[in-house]
């Protein structure tokens, strides 16, 4: 029995080594995962799997093996191809229809509007000026986002039609405008089995003014138990709407009072090290779970390291790096498990436009979410990476 894994990162490949199932690792051109192949067990293929013809031709190789039991992707780029392989090979994994309902934010909004209207917000195609004007007429501002976007890339506030028109036409064609949602934004990690959805972790986000995520605290310090319960219910309903019955998902929701609105969802685990927060606070190896579920390999729950945990990302103003704090600060009540700036003195730092522009990360665990949140704020205020104008 083999499991096809599309585009795993080095971290995910290492995690996958704990699976008993043999792996068929599929890397896109330019990737380098040969060193991660387990001798005499795993296989590796280099495939431009976003190309439909290449994927179809590769599917024939997989089909002829006769031992593929499941297909999984751990990255956004591989979700659709994985869905196609699942359908083509008739094996376990997330069906293409479900993948598309989560990947295409326009489709997700349509489905929610039809089946769970209380969980969505008004939206319009970004190429439909009248609809956007109507949307803007109902609120002070709205959010433009690419229909298939990830990592906050391309997300921006739109207050007027003029703002919209400043967005390149091509991007507008492929984008949507949503009514602005205010409140506390959280990420919800779920594992579904035969239509039953279990919440593995909820993390509150720290976001910059231009929507780049710079921190996550699990569990969310700002939500009450009742709000958390509403979040769980909302996410379960969403997953039912898009037809996700099995596997992991990562859903972002906005909570304001009793109101819960869906921001977006993906049939993969959350990025930004949220998997490590799940592991720290629940003992569940979330990466391994996200890989092994199609073949029924779910790891046993281990020991919780803490009741709360946080990820914080280093950011800095545009310029040249003048100093980098090499070690985590000593803070009472929290333990830093990771302190990893990704830049050095002299490196050039560009404008912070998306997650890719962040400058490394730290992870900490603590006794409760409020302590972790305070530590996160402290790290952000330290400016661990300082720049000077070039």
């Amino acid at each position: 029995m083999s499991l096809v894994v599309l585009g795993p990162s080095a971290n995910m490949t290492r995690a996958a080594h704990n699976l008993e199932t043999d792996l068929i690792i599929v890397q896109p051109p330019g990737a380098s995962k040969a060193e991660f192949v387990r001798p005499e067990r795993d296989e590796l293929y280099t495939v431009d799997y976003v190309d439909a013809d290449e994927l179809a031709s590769f599917a024939r190789v997989l089909r002829s093996r006769g031992d593929v039991a499941g297909v999984v992707s751990t990255t956004e780029r591989g979700l659709e191809p994985a869905g196609r392989l699942v359908e083509d090979l008739g094996v376990a994994g997330t069906a293409l229809q479900t993948v598309m309902a989560s990947r295409d934010k326009r489709l997700m909004r349509q489905l929610l509007a039809r089946h769970a209207p209380d969980l969505t917000v008004p939206c319009a195609s970004a190429s439909d000026h009248d609809a956007v004007a109507d949307l803007l007429g109902r609120g002070a501002r709205a959010i433009f986002k690419p229909a298939f976007g990830t990592g906050s890339a391309g997300v921006q506030t739109v207050s007027t039609i003029a703002d919209l028109e400043r967005i390149p036409a091509q991007a507008r064609e492929e984008g949507l405008v949503e009514a602005f949602m205010s409140g506390v934004e959280v990420t919800v990690e779920t594992l579904s089995s035969a239509g039953r959805h279990a919440i593995l972790g909820v993390a509150e986000k720290w976001i910059t003014d231009n929507f780049v995520e710079v921190g996550h605290v699990m569990p969310p310090p700002s939500l009450s138990p009742a709000q958390l319960e509403r979040v769980g219910t909302a996410v379960s309903r969403l997953l039912d709407v898009i037809g996700l019955t099995d596997g992991v998902a990562c859903t972002e929701v906005m909570v304001e009072g009793n109101d819960v609105k869906i921001v977006e969802t993906h049939n993969r685990l959350g990025g930004d090290g949220v998997a490590d927060l799940v592991h720290a606070t629940t003992g569940v190896d979330w990466r391994l779970t996200s890989l092994g579920w199609p073949v029924g390999e779910l790891p046993e729950r281990g020991r919780c390291r803490a009741d709360a945990a946080a990820m914080v990302f280093f950011v800095a103003d545009e310029g040249v790096v003048a100093s980098v704090l090499g070690q985590a600060p000593e803070l009472a009540d929290v333990t830093f498990e990771l302190w990893a700036p990704s830049v050095e003195v002299g490196d050039t730092v560009g404008r912070l436009r998306s997650s890719d522009d962040r400058l490394g990360a730290a992870r900490l665990v603590g006794p409760d979410p409020h302590t972790c949140a305070k530590a996160l704020e402290h790290v952000l205020s330290l400016k661990a990476v300082k720049t000077v104008r070039a």
Partner: protein, 402 residues
Amino acid sequence: MRPLIINRHSLRWTLGEHGRYVPTQPDHRALLTRTFGGGLEGYRSADFPDVTICDMTRKGHLERVAKWLIESRQLTHVVALHEKDMILAATLRERYALPGMTVDETLPFRDKVHMKDGLVAAGYKNVPAYLPVTTAPAHPLPWSGRTVVKSRWGLGASEVRVVDDPADIAAAIEELHADPATLEVEQFVDGAMYHCDSVVYDGEVLFVSVGEYLQPPGKFASERYQGSVIVGTGPARDLLVEHNAKVLRALGLEAAVTHAEFFLTPAGEVVFCEVAARPGGGGLSEIIRFTYGVDIVESAVHLQLGLTPNLARAPGRDGGSDVYGVLGIFQHVLVEDLRDFLTRQVAGIMSYDFMRPEVPGRVRHATDYGHKLILRASSRAEFDERLTQILTLLDDRCSERS
């Protein structure tokens, strides 16, 4: 040029450091390899960004993967240096109309019955009596004495049995666990074994090296070591060079690197054993390079790519007075790095490689080495002395360890 490279050997051996034997840009070469046997040794993604690692024990799967690579990348050549892949490579070339050896041209270098049939048909006389098992009468055989039962498709002397009595042939067949249709029987030939390693281009043997095996390859299962020493001069060499040329001409080879094996009987007669259209393994390419400065592996790759082989001999390496040989100590003899132990006490060790066993247990074929040494001496007598010295030290070490 966009080649498919099917590799089962150490990657560095097959393609040189960073794939330098394949003179094309890295993303134009598709590497199909395995993890076993050093298939990723020295691998860097910058050298082979288009890499496929697959289970090569599943023949049908390997072929499907190879076809997929050729079709999806529109590859133009197939390079394969392992005996097991020669027919596959030829089949792929035919199917996709790619240049290089066809199946008909390859078969005489793979099927040991086919190759002897070809030689006999071409009038080459020095072939031992032989028969496919399927047509061999149980008794009597048309020869007397001992009989060799072996795979028509075997390699590394791994599927060979010698019986004294024809009545034992059936038991030998059973022991080989093989379909009788894949076996042959032939007259046992008594004599020292030699090999001729050649580069053939345009139907002409442009380069040949002759070596003498330190032990008959067929005896690997009961021995501690194997190896070979270059025979640079002498009447035996001249005779073998002549027979090698006759064999290659008789089989109609146009362009390839070959590894032919012959017996030299006590009466001084040369008898053909077998021939393959690929470089010999087990360190032979290294001692040839040390002796002549010619890289037969690079030549093999170049010929399969349709390029002219580079046979320029390195200065001072003209097969002169120094004698080079390879000694392979089988992996089960001693699992221990002997580099310091041997190089401290024996002169002339040019290189030593210790290979930790990937498959523990008895030796599987004639080059299943755990230790590989390249030895240099000023004469054959000195080479033999050094060889004896190493084997004595090995005995001592084994006694200590036991």
